[in-house]
Amino acid sequence: MNFRDMAGHIGFSEEEFQELVELFLESTLSELDHIKTAAQVPDFEKMAMSAHSMRGAAINLGFTEIHELAKTIESNARACELSGAVEAADEIRDHLERIVGTLALTGRNGSSDRGESPTGRYE
């Protein structure tokens, strides 16, 4: 994961990109929660919505693996298929943790104290 390249890809500076990543982590974590809650009902409509929203955000920043995983959740949910959702969600969470790690390493002002519960920092 090279944030600088990823940032350059969408025409942003690395710093701007890191900010967006923080926001992405926040929104994706909340969508993951929604998916888990919806999976318990199960509410396929909601699962698909959240997965879709997450997917769009992921692809916008270039997190293709998360995009693919979310896509799986979305299409399965649309087919009223519950299987794989929780696993995919867990896998997404793993990816997020890796992103947090990268963020901590490259973090602005050496802010490597973000821990594993990233919260977006608004401007």
Partner: protein, 700 residues
């Protein structure tokens, strides 16, 4: 044997003779404890006769009963050959006792122990001396203790005196230095707050967030000013203060004070009003900063010491000669009040009405002293009237020069002259204030106290052919304001009534809710009269012109004022774009991209919100996410197109969707969208879409 016995007798005789001459008691007893010999001193001391002793006397009878067992123990030990001494209480024949030291040892003859011999010394005198000594010692100790205590008190007194001396040194000699240091310590973080609020204000904020951030900055600025003023207190005392003489708008100054303090008033649920005398001039010449300082102090105190009820700031005036006038500022509250005996000290420095108040309310106790200094320096007087438990009125009166008549700062979109308005509020005070204000602007206003009354009045007016053009729904209804508005809106007869909301407390999302409920303006107390007038005028103006304007708020008014001059840029820059997108990251990303392209972009969180915003504002282009909660992009687009069939026009809608599921594109076109970009969204695609769909010169 005989010789032995003779010898012994001789010895005994000579010994006894010797013993008789001794001043101590000398005695002998046999192994049974029966006295066999006592000397003369013994007989004199104990009061026994030689005959009595000769008849056989148990030695133990002369020992105090409690000590007899110890004595017989000692006798046994002496009979075994020991020599020992011990103190005893001994008894005379008459029963009187005295202390004695008895030393005993064995009487031996040829290695055989025959009995016990002993010496008894009267130690009464010794004992008495000892006791006297002990008493003397104790007395000395007592005296010492008393001395120590006295010393300690002295030391404490000295320490206190030192502390007081130091305090007074701080207060007098090094006060300036102390205050300078203090204020530096405080100023640094405050500057941080101001700096960061400014940075915050430079970022994208909702109008509510902007209001709050501005309040943070303004409060910090006033705090900073106060710190500086405290530093000046030393100068004040030394009469080294400089006063400004500049023309300024007194009313704006007073209302500015109220606005800064309004948050606290709101938090405490207090009625907080500025009542600026109707005929009082606004343009004056003087020191606005000092007036603000005093007024902030008095009104701040009033808010601090008032738990319920009201705080009013009244401003009245009295003309003098030579273009001067006396202005009287009174801050009236319904707070805890001040007792009569405390009143006379209230303006002294480091005084609060009660020490317990300092604990409860904090504060330096400098405020009123500073205010007094300032007011007197301005050639005025300051005073207070108060009733304990009822409230206080702090006032000050100062002479000010009268300035030239100001140019009107207001920019009325339409004249309010003759506009019929209905003021709706439970609170009598609020109704009266608004009636006064609106009538000043030439409006014809009435008031209603309940929603029912209001609806009846509105309908009656309609029926009589003179409908109200405007309904001002004031804060007394709290959470009901919105529903009052909706009830008016839902009546077909009344739906054209211009609705104005005046809230006591601004809440997150209020602007949106009130806009949805059909209000034209939404204001939060306390309101500058100027702002209220502008809002009413703008709302009335947009009704007259039949334009659907976005919700009027203090913020939009300020923006309108600010943006009177700037020329609009044509071309890709300055294009007004609406982004309908529910995902937080995508919103931010799109906003940033638009910003980089120089577009003006607004956000809608779903289709419904997008529809509302399109109604309220003119956009050049909409980027529409397809899937959103509540109302998705397809539905919203379809509605936009349906509406356009009636109203004409064509708003370009560009779909944004995360990589096509089959059929998505068709769905977009079918819903009436013009174009389609897929996520990831890229700068180039956005640029292309804008240049393709927005024609130059058409930008709003």
């Amino acid at each position: 044997m005989q010789a032995e016995a003779v010898c012994r007798i001789i010895l005994e005789a000579s010994g006894r003779e010797l013993a008789d001459s001794l001043p101590q008691t000398v005695f002998e007893m046999d192994s049974e404890g029966v006295l066999t010999f006592v000397n003369r001193t013994a007989m004199e001391t104990f009061g026994y006769s030689a005959e009595e002793v000769g008849r056989g006397l148990d030695a133990l009878t002369m020992i105090a009963p409690a000590e007899r067992s110890r004595a017989s123990e000692d006798i046994s030990r002496a009979l075994r050959g020991e020599v020992l001494g011990s103190g005893y209480t001994v008894l005379r024949k008459d029963g009187s006792a005295f202390p004695a030291l008895i030393r005993i040892g064995p009487v031996q003859l040829n290695g055989k122990i025959l009995g016990v011999r002993g010496v008894l010394i009267d130690i009464s005198d010794l004992k008495a001396t000892e006791e006297r000594l002990q008493r003397a010692k104790e007395e000395t100790e007592t005296i010492n203790r008393e001395l120590e205590a006295t010393n300690k008190q002295l030391e404490e007194a000295i320490a206190r005196a030192n502390v007081m001396a130091m305090a007074s040194e701080v207060a007098n000699c090094t006060k300036s230095q102390f205050l300078a240091n203090m204020s530096h310590e405080i100023r640094t973080p405050i500057n941080g707050v101001i700096g960061f609020s400014n940075l915050l204000l430079d970022t994208e904020l909702s109008s509510e967030q902007r209001d709050y951030a501005e309040a943070v900055r303004d409060s910090a600025e006033i705090l900073l000013k106060l710190i500086n003023d405290i530093l000046e207190f030393s100068k004040l005392e030394a009469k080294k203060m400089a006063l400004e003489q500049i023309p300024f708008d007194l009313r704006t100054t007073v209302e500015g004070v109220a606005e800064l303090l309004s948050l606290r008033a709101r938090e405490k649920g207090l009625d907080f009003e500025v009542r600026y005398g109707q005929d009082a001039p606004r343009r004056v010449v003087g020191d606005p900063g000092r007036i603000r300082q005093v007024l902030t102090n008095l009104a701040g105190n009033a808010l601090k010491f008032t738990e319920k009820g009201f705080v009013f700031i009244d401003v009245g005036w009295q003309p003098l000669v030579d273009g001067q006038a006396v202005f009287r500022f009174a801050v009236e509250d319904s707070g805890i009040g001040i007792s009569e005996e405390k009143l006379e000290f209230i303006f002294e420095k480091f005084t609060q009405a009660d020490a317990s108040m300092t604990r409860r309310y904090g504060g330096t106790g400098l405020g009123l002293a500073i205010s007094k200094q300032i007011v007197e320096f301005m050639g005025g007087t300051i005073g207070v009237t108060s009733t304990l438990g009822r409230g206080s009125t702090f006032w000050f009166a100062i002479p000010l020069g009268l300035g030239e008549t100001p140019q009107s700062l207001s920019i009325p979109a339409a004249s309010l002259e003759g506009v019929r308005a209905l003021i709706v509020d439970r609170s009598e005070i609020n109704r009266q204030t608004l009636l006064d204000l609106t009538s000043n602007w030439g409006m014809k206003s009435d008031a209603a106290a309940t929603p029912e009354e209001a609806l009846a009045a509105l309908r009656d007016a309609c029926a009589s052919g003179r409908p109200y053009g405007m309904a001002i729904i004031d804060s007394g209804f709290q959470d009901d304001m919105e529903s009052v508005g909706r009830r008016i809106q839902s009546d077909p007869q009344l739906k054209d009534t211009v609705l104005i909301a005046i809230a006591a407390v601004g809440k997150r999302g209020d602007a949106r809710r009130f806009s949805e409920a059909g209000f034209a303006a939404y204001l939060v107390r306390p309101i500058h009269t100027e702002t209220l007038m502008e809002a009413l005028a703008a709302a009335w103006g947009s009704k007259l012109q039949g334009v659907a304007a976005p919700l009027i708020t203090r913020h939009t008014l300020a923006e309108a004022r600010a943006s009177q001059a700037p020329a609009r840029v044509s071309g890709p820059e300055g294009v007004h774009v609406l982004i309908a997108e529910d995902n937080l990251l995508n919103q931010k990303l799109a906003l940033k991209m638009m910003e980089k392209l120089g577009c003006r972009a607004d956000l809608a969180g779903n289709g419904r919100e997008a529809l509302r915003m399109i109604e309220r504002d003119r956009y050049d282009l909409v980027f529409m996410d397809c899937q959103m909660p509540d109302m998705d992009g397809y539905e919203a687009s379809a509605i936009i197109r349906r509406r356009e069939k009636e109203s004409g026009g064509h708003l370009p809608i560009i779909a944004m969707t995360a990589h096509a599921m089959t059929g998505d594109r068709d769905k977009c076109i079918k819903a009436g969208m013009d174009d389609y970009i897929s996520k990831p969204i890229r700068r180039e695609e956005i640029l292309q879409a804008i240049s393709r769909w927005v024609q130059k010169g058409e930008s709003a």
